[in-house]
C-alpha cells in the first residue's frame, strides 16, 4: 500500500470571497465555510479568524486541531467514517496544506460535572513562553469558533465539532486540486526479505470504554475494550483516527497529531535505509484490572512477534493508570526478544524532584524523555483573545474560580496548553538530571 502525500505550504491566510491558493497564500471564502458548518442544526453560529505565529493572541476554548487534507487519488476520502462511508484509505494520493491548521474552539459546559468524561478545553498562545511550549504556535492558524446549540449531550457536541472541523479542513484542501505541489513524499512499508531490522510502532491508547466517546476512534468508531489492532500508518495519515473533541488537554493528541504522527513519519524517513518499518500496533490501554493489563501486554507483544518485529518504539496516550499497561507491554516484548524504546513525557512534579515516571519495570532500560508535562509556566498578558471564552477556568473541578483570559496566567502544569506536552517526540524537548 503506497500513499503519496503532496504538500502545499501555507505561510499566509486571508479571509476573502473565494478559495484560492498560490505563492504560499491561501485565500478563503469565509461565507461559504460558514454556511457549510451551519448545515448542522447543532451549530447555531460560526466565525473565522486568522492568527499568525508571533501575534500576541491567546486562543481559548480549543477543542481540536486539524490539518487540511483531501484525497485526490485512491479509494475513500479523508476522515473516513466521520465525513464519509467506511472505505479503506491510505492508498493513492492525498493533498495537504502544511504550515497551517484549523483550530476549532467552542464554548461547551457539558452535562458531566467532573471525572474523566467531563469536557475540557485548552488554550494556545501564539507568542512568548506559551508559544515556546506548544508545537501549534508555529502554524498559521485558522480559528473556527463554533456556537453550539444549548444543552447538547457530550456525544452530540463532539459530533458537531468534529464534523465541522473535518468539513472545513477538507474544503480548504480542495483548493489545491489540479495544482502542482511543492513536494511529494511517498509512504510505503518495508519490503519483505530485507535484512534491516523490522521495527513496529506500538501506540498505546487510553480509551474510556464506558464513555459516550472513548477518546479514540478508528474510522469513526470509538475503540473500547479492544485487544491489540494492526493499523497501517497510511490510514493515520489519511485521518482514519479521531479523538473526542469535547476534551483537549496537553498530553492528549489532536487530530493534527494523528495526521502528523512524528514516530510514524520518523520511521518512514528511516524506512529502507536503516529500518524496515512493519506498521503500527494500536494497543488499547488503561484496563481496569491488573489482569486486564497483563492480558493486553501479552496480546500486544504476541502481535509484535507475529509481525516478526526485531524492535519496537513504544509510546502512549493517557495518564498514570494507562502507563502501567505500557510498562507491562514493554516487559512482555522484551521477554519475547523484541527490543523496545519507550518515547514519552515525564510526570515528576515539584520542580522535577519526584519520580519522573509513574511505574517501572526493569526491562524498560531504554527511554527517551520528551520533557515534563508538569512544568510550571507563567503566561504574560495577551493583546487579544480569540475564541469563545473571555474568562477561563484553570482548575478543572466543580466550582473552580475563573480568571480573565486576556490577563497573566500562572499554571502549575502544561495541561491546559494544547500541544504543551511533546507526547510523541516531535520536538527536541527532554529532561536532564541535575
Amino acid at each position: 500500500m503506497r500513499l503519496e502525500m503532496a504538500e502545499f505550504p501555507v505561510a499566509e491566510i486571508t479571509l476573502g470571497r473565494e478559495f484560492r491558493y498560490g505563492s504560499e497564500t491561501l485565500e478563503i471564502d469565509a461565507g461559504e465555510l460558514k454556511s457549510l458548518v451551519l448545515q448542522d442544526r447543532h451549530i447555531k453560529d460560526a466565525s473565522l479568524e486568522v492568527v499568525a505565529p508571533g501575534a500576541k493572541v491567546r486562543i481559548t476554548g480549543i477543542r481540536d486541531i486539524v490539518e487540511p487534507r483531501v484525497k485526490v487519488e485512491g479509494k475513500g476520502q479523508v476522515f473516513p467514517g466521520v465525513l464519509g462511508p467506511v472505505v479503506p484509505v491510505g492508498e493513492g494520493r492525498t493533498h495537504r496544506l502544511s504550515g497551517m491548521a484549523v483550530v476549532t474552539a467552542a464554548e461547551y459546559e457539558g452535562t458531566i460535572r467532573s471525572g474523566s468524561a467531563a469536557q475540557r478545553s485548552a488554550i494556545l498562545d501564539m507568542w512568548g513562553p506559551g508559544a515556546e511550549a506548544s508545537r501549534f504556535s508555529a502554524l498559521v492558524n485558522l480559528v473556527l469558533t463554533l456556537r453550539l446549540a444549548e444543552r447538547l449531550a457530550e456525544l452530540e457536541a463532539h459530533t458537531a465539532i468534529q464534523r465541522a472541523e473535518c468539513e472545513v479542513a477538507k474544503r480548504l484542501a480542495e483548493v489545491t486540486i489540479g495544482l502542482k505541489p511543492r513536494r511529494v513524499e511517498s509512504y510505503e512499508l518495508g519490503e519483505d526479505g530485507s535484512k534491516l531490522p523490522r521495527v513496529v510502532l506500538i501506540q498505546g491508547c487510553h480509551s474510556d470504554s464506558h464513555h459516550a466517546h472513548s477518546g479514540i476512534s478508528y474510522y469513526g468508531l470509538s475503540i473500547r475494550d479492544s485487544l491489540a489492532t494492526f493499523v497501517h500508518p497510511n490510514e493515520m495519515l489519511d485521518g482514519a483516527i479521531g479523538i473526542n473533541t469535547t476534551k483537549a488537554v496537553c498530553h492528549h493528541p489532536t487530530t493534527w497529531d494523528w495526521q502528523n504522527h512524528p514516530l510514524v513519519l520518523g520511521l518512514y524517513r528511516e524506512n529502507r535505509h536503516r529500518v524496515n518499518f512493519a506498521g503500527v500496533i494500536l494497543e488499547r490501554i488503561r484496563f481496569e484490572t491488573h489482569h486486564g493489563k497483563e492480558v493486553i501486554a501479552h496480546n500486544t507483544a504476541q502481535m509484535g512477534t507475529a509481525l516478526r518485529a526485531d524492535g519496537a518504539l513504544v509510546t502512549w496516550v493517557g495518564g498514570g493508570n494507562a502507563f502501567v499497561d505500557v510498562m507491562l507491554t514493554i516487559q512482555a516484548c522484551e521477554q519475547r526478544g523484541i527490543k523496545t524504546v519507550l518515547v514519552g513525557y515525564e510526570s515528576g512534579v515539584k520542580g522535577g524532584v519526584d519520580a519522573p515516571l509513574l511505574y517501572y519495570v526493569p526491562e524498560a532500560d531504554a527511554v527517551v524523555s520528551t520533557g515534563n508535562r508538569n512544568s510550571p509556566i507563567e503566561l504574560p498578558e495577551a493583546e487579544r483573545v480569540v475564541g469563545p471564552y473571555e474568562e477561563i477556568q484553570i482548575l478543572n473541578y466543580p466550582g473552580a474560580p475563573v480568571i480573565p483570559a486576556r490577563g497573566r496566567v500562572k499554571l502549575d502544569a502544561l495541561d491546559m496548553i494544547v500541544g504543551g506536552a511533546d507526547i510523541w517526540g516531535m520536538q527536541s524537548w527532554t529532561c536532564r538530571a541535575y
Binding site: A118, G266, G311, V349, Y360, A366, V368, Y397, R432, A433
Partner: protein, 353 residues
C-alpha cells in the same frame, strides 16, 4: 587565582587515626594534609587558604556545634569554593562531608564539591538535600584512588569557584541529586529514539534518558485478631466528598486530605455526595457513592456484630488520588496514619479507585 577551603577528617588532616577521632574542629591556615595534594592539583588555578579538619566521632557527637564552627570559619575567609573529602567508602566521613557542604552552601551560598564512592551511604543524604550548590563527584572506594580523586575534584572545584555554568549530571560527571529539568536538545525525540533502538537491536551500548527506579514495597499489616473490638475507619482515594466540594479538592494533583462525618448516617444518599476525580468516569460513583465509601455494607457488618457497635470511626478520610505525586501522597499517607493512631483506629478499609 581562586581561593579554596578544604575540609577533611582528622586522619586526612594529618592528626592521626581512630585514636584522634574525638578531636574538635581545627583550622590550619594554608594547605595541610590531603589539602597539599589538592593544592598541587589546582596548580596556579587556585590556592588553599585554609584547611579545616575535625574528628570523625567528634563531628557526629556534636553535629550542630561542629557545623556552626565550620560555617563561621569559612565565613571569615569567604573562599570561592569549598572542597570536602574525598571520603571514599567511609560512611562517617562521607556523611560529615555532605552535612558540612549542605551547611556551607545553604548558610553562605558558597559552592561545594564533595567526593566519595558512589556506593557510600552518605550519597542518599546528598540526594535528599538536593542542593544545587553542592556537587558530589564519584571517586574510588579507597584512598588508593586519592590522586585521581583530588585531580577530578580540583578541576571541578575550579569550574564551580570561577562561576562557570555547570550542566547536567550526565554531561558533567557529578552524581544526580534527583532533580530533573526541562530542556531543549539538539535533536527531536523521534530521532533519538530510533538511534537508541538501532543500537539496542544491534547489541551495542546505549544510554537511556530516564533511568529506572526501584520503589518501596509496603508490607501489609497483619490481619486484626478480632475485628469486632477494633475501631475501623475508611480511607478512600475515590474523591467522594459532600456535594458542592466544600474544601475545593481539585480533580488531580491534590496536596491535602480531609475527613467527612458519617456518624449519624446509615448510608450515603445519591445527590448529597459527589466524586471529584479526573481519572475515572464519576457518573457511576455519583449515582452510588458506596462504590467509594461502602457505608451501607459497613453498617450491615456492624448490625451483624462483625464490626463492634459504635466501632465504625465516625468520619471517613479522603483524597482524590488522580495524578498524586508520590512524595505528596507519601506525606498525605503519613499524616492520615498519624491521625488514625491518635484516634485509636485499629483497622482500615482502604478503598482505591
Amino acid at each position: 587565582m581562586l581561593t579554596v577551603i578544604h575540609i577533611v577528617n582528622q586522619y586526612f588532616g594529618g592528626l592521626g587515626g581512630e585514636e584522634k577521632a574525638g578531636s574538635p574542629v581545627v583550622v590550619v591556615e594554608g594547605a595541610a594534609g590531603a589539602a597539599r595534594g589538592l593544592e598541587g592539583q589546582l596548580g596556579d588555578r587556585g590556592k588553599v587558604v585554609a584547611t579545616i579538619y575535625y574528628g570523625d566521632n567528634y563531628f557526629h557527637e556534636h553535629v550542630e556545634e561542629a557545623k556552626g564552627v565550620i560555617v563561621r570559619e569559612v565565613e571569615k575567609r569567604r573562599p570561592d569554593v569549598v572542597v570536602a573529602g574525598p571520603a571514599f567508602n567511609s560512611g562517617r566521613y562521607g556523611l560529615a562531608s555532605v552535612e558540612i557542604c549542605q551547611a556551607v552552601a545553604e548558610g553562605l551560598g558558597i559552592g561545594c564539591v564533595v567526593g566519595m564512592d558512589s556506593e557510600n551511604p552518605a550519597v542518599s543524604a546528598y540526594r535528599e538535600y538536593r542542593n544545587m550548590r553542592v556537587y558530589l563527584l564519584p571517586t574510588a572506594e579507597s584512598a588508593a584512588g586519592m590522586t585521581k580523586a583530588l585531580s577530578l575534584m580540583a578541576r571541578f572545584a575550579y569550574r564551580v569557584g570561577s562561576g562557570a555554568e555547570i550542566g547536567s549530571a550526565g554531561e558533567e560527571g557529578y552524581l544526580p541529586r534527583g532533580i530533573r529539568r526541562l530542556q531543549r536538545t539538539d535533536r527531536p525525540g523521534v530521532e533519538r529514539a530510533i538511534d537508541i533502538l538501532l543500537k539496542k537491536v544491534a547489541g551495542k551500548p546505549f544510554v537511556t534518558e530516564v533511568p529506572m527506579e526501584v520503589w518501596d514495597q509496603v508490607a501489609p499489616a497483619a490481619p486484626l485478631a478480632d475485628s469486632s473490638s477494633a475501631t475501623i475507619a475508611v480511607i478512600t482515594t475515590s474523591g467522594v466528598v459532600p456535594w458542592g466540594n466544600p474544601d475545593g479538592f481539585k480533580t488531580y494533583r491534590n496536596t491535602f486530605w480531609r475527613k467527612y462525618n458519617i456518624a449519624e448516617l446509615g448510608a450515603l444518599e445519591p445527590g448529597r455526595w459527589e466524586a471529584v476525580h479526573g481519572g475515572y468516569n464519576v457518573s457511576y460513583m455519583n449515582q452510588n457513592p458506596h462504590y467509594g465509601v461502602p457505608l451501607d455494607a459497613l453498617r450491615a457488618l456492624e448490625a451483624k456484630g462483625k464490626i463492634g457497635k459504635g466501632k465504625l470511626y465516625p468520619a471517613y478520610y479522603v483524597v482524590p488520588g488522580n495524578q498524586g505525586s508520590p512524595s505528596v501522597m507519601k506525606r498525605i499517607g503519613q499524616e492520615i496514619a498519624a491521625d488514625l493512631r491518635k484516634e485509636g483506629v485499629g483497622g482500615v478499609l482502604l478503598v482505591a479507585t
